[in-house]
Amino acid sequence: MSSTSNTSTHHTSTIGAIGAPSRRNTELALLVFAVAIPVFAYANVGLAINDEVPSGLLAYGLGLGLIAGVGHLVVRKFAAYADPLLLPLATLLNGLGLVVIWRLDQSERLQQLAERQYGVFSPSAPNQLMYSAVGLALFVAVLVFLKDHRILQRYTYISMVVAIVLLLLPLVPGVGADVFGAKIWINVAGFSIQPGEFAKIIIAIFFSGYLMVKRDALALASRRFMGLYLPRGRDLGPIITIWAVSLLILIFENDLGTSLLFFGMFVIMLYVATERTSWIVIGLLMSAAGAVGVASFASHVQARVDAWLDPFGCYKTSGACEQIGQSIMSFGSGGVMGTGLGQGNSDLIGFAANSDFIFSTFGEELGLAGVMAILLMYGLIIERGIRTALAARDPFGKLFAVGLSGAFALQIFVVAGGVMGLIPLTGMTMPFLAAGGSSVIANWALVGILIRISDTARRPAPTPASNPDAEMTQVVRP
């Protein structure tokens, strides 16, 4: 852009691209902030529980700082124009998750519970720090090796197959592991992996590649009926297929969360691709029908619905649902300002307190104010994802970014809604906060892809070569 236009943009409002700054220094400043907050929280927990600044503070701060620093340097080198907020937000959430997992490791109740159940207690925080490092490694790998997200477009149908295989792996005897009723784990080389978390990203590739090609057929061929554009019968094929697959996941893997996530993600992307509200209506009707249908005969789902409808009722009968009751009481005892880090009793939840129910600990110890701040941080990640989709220049990138942020948003809604008693509990994990390797690793990869797309979207376009024809019409006057 020439200097004359720069001076004119100074005074006036013009139409035209304004040179986008890379904003890497903003990101660095925010990252320093995002590392400092968890370190403060860590010291706070130590002071509250043991009356002293914890000895691991320096190691923990350095670990988190290293993760943030490496992430920043890689973004600076390989995605210089990426969104400045995604990395700090992810780092902060990951750091806060580590602190609260460490805080729950200190709980004597949970230590005794683990010793009674497994004979030995092993702290989760060191593992989680290691998983975060692995997640960051994957993040780096995405940025280094994925030069252009449009390459993924070539693997549309391969990724469909891979995603389905990943989703079905937990059902394969010998590989799959039935953990507490839900068959969503596989055992590989001594590690438990939740393939659904990775399938979430891979299936987004398939959905965006597929919808990019088919969206015209799905959007244009329709009849108008009662203010809605109804699709033709045969265009219902894809949505019915996805619906059936997610119902199968629900029935055979007993996993409400994953099936909701996949179906919801497809409906969101279908809506974005076609701009037809009717898809949302159809999707909601289908998911309601599916949920009611399955809940009426699958006992696992039935139990969860009962626990949701009457969280305290089952204390009298079985006690199998006490987690939800405890979780709701945690949120209640936190009040507006919370009890303070390390001073709550959310460890009463017992099993899965630091994974599925970690949000209850935030609710109790940080109160409504803290929970709202954390939900806003998630909201900002999602907003940056959608903003990236808006700014992206290619339809595949747009759909991909919308799909990833939509899946992220759905997951947060499903988990937070579950532990707060808004919807039945689904057994998913809060991205970045909850203990669990697969979740942290997959979500770092997700953020890596969003950063890659946002870099492509925000990179200023190369200045077009001056058109020789244009020079003919130019008359230079003194």
Binding site: T7, S8, S13, T14, I15, G16, I37, L366, M377, L380
Partner: protein, 169 residues
């Protein structure tokens, strides 16, 4: 650890958490970029223009001997027809170029416009002048095709291809 310290830390932590959120939102606010399409509907725009005018007094002073201080002088240029309808540009004594070239003040997305089509500038008395820059399809003031730099009456339509712009108070 005393109760007081823990309370202070608790509230301090919440404050820091919210500070981060607020800073992040500020970053978003300052990060709006891309095409700066502005001012659809001039009602909300008017106060901001005045504020902008107030913020830059020195150039105005210089101009005030001429057009800027005169009563009835135009203050803005408004696109009233074409794809950019609703766009306004504040007139602050600078030259406004129109054309398809990407560095024009108003970039016309119009097949009938040349890449450097016309310019609008104030002469020494502050009277705004429109000048055709040798465009292929011409610039029209009212119905007449421009051959020489011509003063622009307030509200007179200047037509370039499918785009019509006028100066308003």
């Amino acid at each position: 650890m005393s109760e007081l310290t823990l309370t202070v830390m608790r509230l301090g932590f919440l404050a820091v958490l919210w500070l981060f959120v607020i800073v992040a939102v500020q970053v978003i606010r300052s990060d709006l970029f891309g095409t700066r399409v502005t001012q659809r509907g001039s009602r909300r725009e008017a106060p901001r223009q005045q504020a902008a005018a107030r913020q830059t007094p020195p150039p105005q002073r210089q101009q005030s001997a001429g057009g800027r201080g005169r009563r009835g002088a135009p203050t803005k240029l408004v696109v009233s027809e074409g794809t950019l309808t609703g766009t306004t540009v504040a007139l602050q004594g600078q030259t406004i170029t129109l054309g398809r070239a990407h560095d024009s003040t108003i970039v016309l997305d119009d097949d009938y416009a040349s890449s450097r089509h016309a310019r609008i500038y104030p002469d020494r008395d502050g009277q705004w002048i429109v000048e055709d820059l040798g465009s292929t399809n011409g610039t029209y003031l009212d119905r007449t095709r421009l051959t020489t730099p011509t003063p622009i009456p307030l509200g007179a339509p200047i037509r370039i291809g499918k785009t019509v712009i006028e100066l308003r108070k």
